[in-house]
C-alpha cells in the first residue's frame, strides 16, 4: 500500500477521518486566501481562521496541549501583533495595495518546482505504522493521565536543558526589543 492511502489508522477512521479532511481542506483554503486577499485585514482574519482550524486538527489527534497552545500563542498573541502592525501602517495612509503580488509568475514557478517533487515524495513514501494504542501519549509513570501531563512530564525532565536555553532566548528577545526600540535621544548623554 502506498503512502497516500495510509492515513494513520486508529486516529482518523470514520467520522474523525471526515472531520480531518474537512479541517485540512479548510485550513489550506484559508492559507491560500491569506496570500491572495487584497485587504490586509482580510488576510489577518483568514490567517486567524487557518490557525484555529489547525488547532482543531491537533485536538482531533488528541493532542490537546498543542491545540491549546496553538490557540493561545498563535490565534491569541501573534495575531494581536499582526493587527497592531496593520493598525499602525493604516494610520499612515497605506491602503489596499497589491504590495506583495507583482511576482505571480516567478512565485508560481518556484512553488511548483518545490511542490511537485514534494508531492511525488509524499505519494511514494511508505510511512511507518503509527502506534495503534494512543494511551502511549497519555501515560505518565504507568498510569493513564492526559496528553498535557505527558507533555509536561517529557518537557520538564528529558527536555529540561533546551527548555532552559529557551528561557535565555526569550530574555535576549526582550533585551533586543528594548535596545532597538528605545528612543536614541534619551541615552546620548
Amino acid at each position: 500500500m502506498t503512502g497516500a492511502q495510509a492515513v494513520p489508522g486508529a486516529l482518523l477512521t470514520g467520522a474523525a477521518g471526515w472531520l480531518f479532511v474537512i479541517f485540512a481542506v479548510l485550513a489550506l483554503g484559508m492559507a491560500i486566501a491569506v496570500v491572495v486577499a487584497r485587504n490586509p485585514i482580510h488576510s489577518a482574519l483568514f490567517l486567524l481562521s487557518s490557525f484555529l482550524l489547525v488547532a482543531c486538527i491537533f485536538i482531533l489527534q488528541q493532542a490537546e496541549f498543542v491545540g491549546a497552545v496553538q490557540i493561545l500563542v498563535y490565534a491569541g498573541g501573534i495575531m494581536v501583533l499582526f493587527l497592531f502592525v496593520i493598525m499602525l501602517v493604516h494610520q499612515r495612509g497605506v491602503r489596499e495595495r497589491l504590495t506583495f503580488q507583482h511576482q505571480w509568475d516567478v512565485a508560481l514557478l518556484f512553488v511548483l518546482a518545490f511542490l511537485l517533487p514534494f508531492l511525488y515524495v509524499l505519494w511514494t513514501e511508505r510511512f511507518p505504522d503509527l502506534p495503534q494504542n494512543l494511551d502511549a501519549f497519555r501515560t505518565v509513570r504507568g498510569k493513564i493521565a492526559g496528553n498535557t501531563q505527558a507533555v509536561a512530564w517529557v518537557l520538564y525532565r528529558d527536555y529540561l536543558l533546551p527548555f532552559e536555553v529557551a528561557s535565555v532566548f526569550l530574555l535576549v528577545a526582550m533585551i533586543g526589543a528594548v535596545v532597538l526600540g528605545k528612543r536614541s535621544a534619551e541615552k546620548v548623554d
Binding site: T124, D158, L161, F169, I175, G176, L180
Partner: protein
C-alpha cells in the same frame, strides 16, 4: 533523568557565561558612557574564566558521554570549538572597546548580547539532540540579529539587521521543516538514536528531503552558495567588530553542528549528503572568489572572500570514514579564525573616520602611516591566500589532502585554482598599502585593538611555522565515524 555533580561541572562554562551575561546586563545601568570601558574588561575577564573552565574540562575524565537525558555532550570535538569560539568572543571585545566607546550607544547591552551569543554557540556545539541544537542555534541567531543592528542610527546597520533577520528566520523555517520531517519518520530526536534507527531501515525519499532541508538551513548559517546572498550586505552594514565576529564565531558553531549532525546522526546516508556538500563547496569557492574580484569596498570584498573560504572549509566535512575524517576542517578552522578575524580587526583600525566607508583606497600608503599595521595586514592576506609559512597554508594543505583522500580530487584541483585566483584581490590591498601615496597623518591604534590584532598575527605565524603540535592535538578532537 538523573543529574549528577559531574554533569553540572560539564555544564559549568555555559552556566557561568549565562550568569556573566546577566550580571553585565544588570550592572550596566550604573555605568555612564565615560566609565563603560570597565564593563568591557569585566566581560573579558568572564570570557577568560570561561576559557579556563573549558580548558579544565579538556582534562576531565567524565567527559565524552551524553548528559541531561542525551541532550548535551562534552567531547574533545566540542571542547576544541568552545575554546576557539570563546577566544573569538574575547578578540571581539578587544576590537570593540574603542569602536563602541566612541558611538552613542550603551556598551553594557552590547557586551551582554555578545555573551549570550556565546552561550548559544557553546550549547550548540555540545548539542546531541536535534531539539537542543535547534534551540541553541536560535539563541545564537537572535543575539546576532540584534548585534547587527546595534548601531541603530546608521541606516546601513539597520538594513543589515533587517536583512539578516528576515533571511535568517526563513532559513530557520527551512531547517525546522527538515527537523520535523526527520522526527515524523523516526519518532526520536537524539543523534545517536537516529543513526541506530536508520541503520536497520531502508532508505526513504521523505527522509532524504528532510536531510536536504536540514543541510540547507545550516548552509545558510555558514553562507555557502546558493544561501549566501545575505552575507555582503550584512557584513558591510554591521558594526565592523560585529562583522569580524560574524565571520568567525557563528560560522564555527555552524560548521561544528553541521559535522556533528551528519557524522553522528546520518552516517548511513553519507553518499547522498557527501555529494551535495561537494557540489555546494565547488559552487561556493568559485562564486565567492569571482565575486570578490569585482569588489571595491573592502568589507564586501572580505565578505565574498569569507564565502569563498566557506567553500574550502566544506571540503573538510567530506572525509567521512577516511583516516582524515574531520581533521582537515579542524586544522583549517583554527587558522581561519585568527586570520579572518585579524583582517577584519584591521578594517576596524582604519575605520576611525566614518562608519562604513572602507574602499580599497583607504588602504593607500598604509605602510607609511603605520608600518606595523601594514606588515601585519600583509601576513593576514598571505595567510588567507594560503601562502607558506602561514597558518592559512597549513589549513588549506590539510583540507585539500582531506578532499583527495575522500576521492574528490577534482574538488581539490578546483580549490587550488581558486586559491590562485584569490591572490589577485588580496594583493590589490597589499599593493595599495605598500606602493600607493599616503593620504592623511600617521595612524595610532588603541591598545586593546592592537592586542587583538597582534594575538591574531602571532597565532597565524606560530601555527604556520610550527604546526606540528597543534595538528597533532587536533587529531584527538575529531568525531569518529561509526
Amino acid at each position: 533523568m538523573k543529574v549528577s555533580a559531574s554533569d553540572w561541572l560539564l555544564l559549568s562554562p555555559e552556566l557561568f557565561l549565562t550568569a556573566a551575561g546577566l550580571l553585565i546586563l544588570s550592572i550596566s545601568a550604573f555605568f555612564d558612557k565615560a566609565k563603560e570601558e570597565f564593563l568591557a574588561f569585566l566581560t573579558l575577564l568572564f570570557v577568560g574564566v570561561a576559557i579556563g573552565l573549558v580548558a579544565f574540562l579538556s582534562g576531565y575524565g567524565g567527559r565524552g558521554a551524553p548528559i541531561f537525558a542525551g541532550m548535551f555532550i562534552v567531547d574533545n570535538f566540542a571542547i576544541f570549538f568552545k575554546l576557539l569560539m570563546l577566544v573569538s568572543i574575547a578578540l571581539t571585545v578587544l576590537a570593540s572597546i574603542q569602536f563602541v566607546g566612541r558611538a552613542p550607544y550603551p556598551a553594557g547591552d552590547y557586551y551582554a548580547l555578545l555573551l549570550f551569543t556565546g552561550v548559544g554557540m557553546l550549547f550548540m556545539v555540545s548539542g546531541n539532540n536535534l531539539v537542543s541544537i535547534y534551540v541553541a542555534l536560535e539563541l545564537m541567531a537572535l543575539s546576532s540579529y540584534i548585534l547587527a543592528g546595534y548601531f541603530k542610527l546608521e541606516i546601513k546597520s539597520t538594513e543589515a539587521a533587517l536583512k539578516y533577520f528576515v533571511l535568517g528566520a526563513f532559513s530557520s523555517g527551512v531547517l525546522l521543516y527538515g527537523l520535523s520531517l526527520v522526527y515524523g519518520i523516526a519518532g526520536r530526536m537524539g543523534l545517536p538514536d537516529l543513526a541506530k534507527l536508520f541503520e536497520s531501515q531502508a532508505k526513504s525519499n521523505l527522509l532524504l528531503v528532510g536531510i536536504l532541508l536540514i543541510l540547507a538551513g545550516l548552509l545558510f548559517k555558514i553562507a555557502a552558495v546558493p544561501f549566501h546572498v545575505w552575507t555582503p550586505d550584512v557584513y558591510e552594514g554591521s558594526p565592523t567588530p560585529v562583522t569580524a565576529f560574524f565571520s568567525v564565531g557563528p560560522k564555527l558553531a555552524a560548521y561544528a553542528i553541521l559535522a556533528r549532525i551528519f557524522y553522528v546522526g546520518f552516517p548511513k546516508f553519507h553518499a547522498d549528503w557527501g555529494l551535495i556538500i561537494a557540489l555546494v563547496s565547488a559552487a561556493t569557492m568559485v562564486f565567492g572568489n569571482v565575486a570578490a574580484l569585482l569588489q571595491t569596498n573592502v568589507k564586501r570584498m572580505l565578505a565574498y572572500s569569507s564565502i569563498a573560504h566557506a567553500g574550502y572549509a566544506l571540503m573538510g566535512v567530506l572525509g567521512f570514514r577516511t583516516e582524515f575524517g574531520l581533521w582537515g576542517i579542524l586544522v583549517y578552522l583554527l587558522a581561519y579564525t585568527f586570520m579572518n578575524f585579524g583582517v577584519f580587526a584591521l578594517v576596524v583600525f582604519l575605520e576611525t573616520k566614518g562608519y562604513a566607508a572602507e574602499s580599497v583606497a583607504d588602504f593607500n600608503g598604509l605602510a607609511r602611516r603605520n608600518m606595523t599595521a601594514a606588515v601585519v595586514m600583509l601576513v593576514f592576506l598571505l595567510s588567507l591566500a594560503g601562502i607558506p609559512p602561514t597558518a592559512g597554508f597549513i589549513g588549506k594543505y590539510y583540507l585539500f589532502t582531506s578532499a583527495m583522500k575522500a576521492g574528490y580530487a577534482w574538488l581539490a584541483v578546483l580549490a587550488v585554482l581558486m586559491s590562485a585566483l584569490s591572490l589577485f584581490y588580496y594583493f590589490r590591498i597589499a599593493a595599495a598599502m605598500f606602493f600607493s601615496e599616503a593620504e592623511g597623518a600617521p595612524l595610532k591604534s588603541s591598545y586593546a585593538l592592537t592586542a587583538a590584532v597582534l594575538i591574531c598575527a602571532a597565532a597565524t605565524v606560530i601555527v604556520g611555522v610550527a604546526p606540528q603540535p597543534f595538528v597533532e592535538m587536533l587529531r584527538a578532537c575529531v568525531i569518529k565515524a561509526p
